[in-house]
C-alpha cells in the first residue's frame, strides 16, 4: 500500500460495500448502533489483516468477516439473554427479557413506507442463516459460491437457505406484494 494505489482501491471498495454491509448487519441485529459497530469491526479487520491481499479477494473476505462478527454478536446476545433469564428466575421482569424487534429505531423508521415496513418485518422474521443467504444473494449480488464462502458453508446449504427464505417471504408478503 506504499504507493497509495492500494489505499485508493480499498477506499473505493469499502465505499461500494459499506451500505450493503450495514443493511446485512442491521437486519441481523436489529439495532443501528450495533450494526455500525459490526461494520466498523469488519472494515478494520479487512484493512489491517487483508489489505495486502489481491483486490479480487476482498469482497468474499469482507463478507466472511462480517458474517463472523454477526454470528459472534448473536452468540454474545444469547449468553446475555440466558444470564438475564437466570437472574430474574421467579420474577416477571418483562423489560429486561423483552427482545428488541428494532421497529422503534428512528433512523430506520424515517426511511420506511408501508411496503418497505412489510418487507423489513418479513426479512427480520427469517432465521439468521436464511436471512443472510437471501441478503447476500439479493442485495449484494454474490454468487452461490461467493455466498457459501462468505457464510462458511456448502453451496448446497446456500441454495437451501435461499430457497427457504424466498418461500417464507412469498408467504409473508403475499397479501401486500
Amino acid at each position: 500500500m506504499s504507493d497509495g494505489v492500494q489505499a485508493h482501491e480499498l477506499n473505493r471498495f469499502l465505499g461500494e460495500v459499506e451500505a450493503s454491509a450495514f443493511q446485512l448487519a442491521r437486519y441481523a441485529v436489529r439495532d443501528t448502533d450495533e450494526a455500525l459497530d459490526i461494520v466498523q469491526d469488519a472494515m478494520f479487520t479487512l484493512a489491517r489483516k487483508y489489505g495486502k491481499k489481491p483486490m479480487s479477494e476482498w469482497r468474499p473476505l469482507f463478507f466472511r468477516i462480517l458474517q463472523n462478527r454477526i454470528r459472534d454478536w448473536h452468540r454474545r446476545a444469547s449468553v446475555r439473554r440466558r444470564v438475564v433469564q437466570e437472574s430474574v428466575v421467579g420474577e416477571t421482569d418483562r423489560i429486561s427479557t423483552a427482545t428488541d424487534d428494532g421497529r422503534n429505531d428512528p433512523l430506520l423508521a424515517a426511511n420506511t413506507d408501508g411496503a418497505t415496513d412489510q418487507l423489513q418485518a418479513a426479512v427480520e422474521k427469517l432465521p439468521l442463516r436464511q436471512q443472510q443467504a437471501f441478503l447476500l444473494r439479493s442485495l449484494e449480488g454474490l454468487s452461490v459460491a461467493e455466498t457459501a464462502k462468505a457464510m462458511g458453508c456448502s453451496q448446497g446449504s446456500v441454495k437451501t437457505h435461499y430457497s427457504r427464505a424466498l418461500s417464507a417471504l412469498r408467504d409473508s408478503l403475499k397479501e401486500y406484494w
Partner: protein, 139 residues
Amino acid sequence: MSDTDKDKDDSASGTGAGALEARLAESLKTERDNLAPDVRERLGAMRREAVKLAEEAAEANAPASILRRWFGALPLAATATAGLTAALALGVWLASAPGAGPAPLPAISEAEAAVMQDLELLEELEFLAWLEEESAGAG
C-alpha cells in the same frame, strides 16, 4: 458475477428468477441507497479510518521499515552486549586476582603449639592423679 451466472445459480437452486425476487431485490437496494445521512456519514468516517489503518499496516510491513526497525534496535543490542561482556570480564578478573577468594586460616605459632602440648600433658597428669586417688579410696 454476471447476471447469467446468477440466473444459472438461481435455476440450480430450483427457485427461478421470479418477479417477486426481482421486486424484493429492488426494494432492498432502494432501501440501501437511501440510508439516513448520519449513518452514511458514520460509514464514511469508518472507511477513512480503515484506509488509514491499512496504510499504517502496509508501512509497518514494508521491507524498508523492517530494516529500519532492525537497525534502529542495533545500538540498544550493542550496548546491552557490551555491558554484559564487561560484567563477565570483571567477574573473571576478580575471581583470578591474587588475594581473591576466602581468607586462609592463620598459622598456629610455635609458642601456642607448645602451650597446647603442655596443657595436654597437664590434663594427663591430673587424670593419673585422680585415678590413683580413686583406686586408693576403693582399697
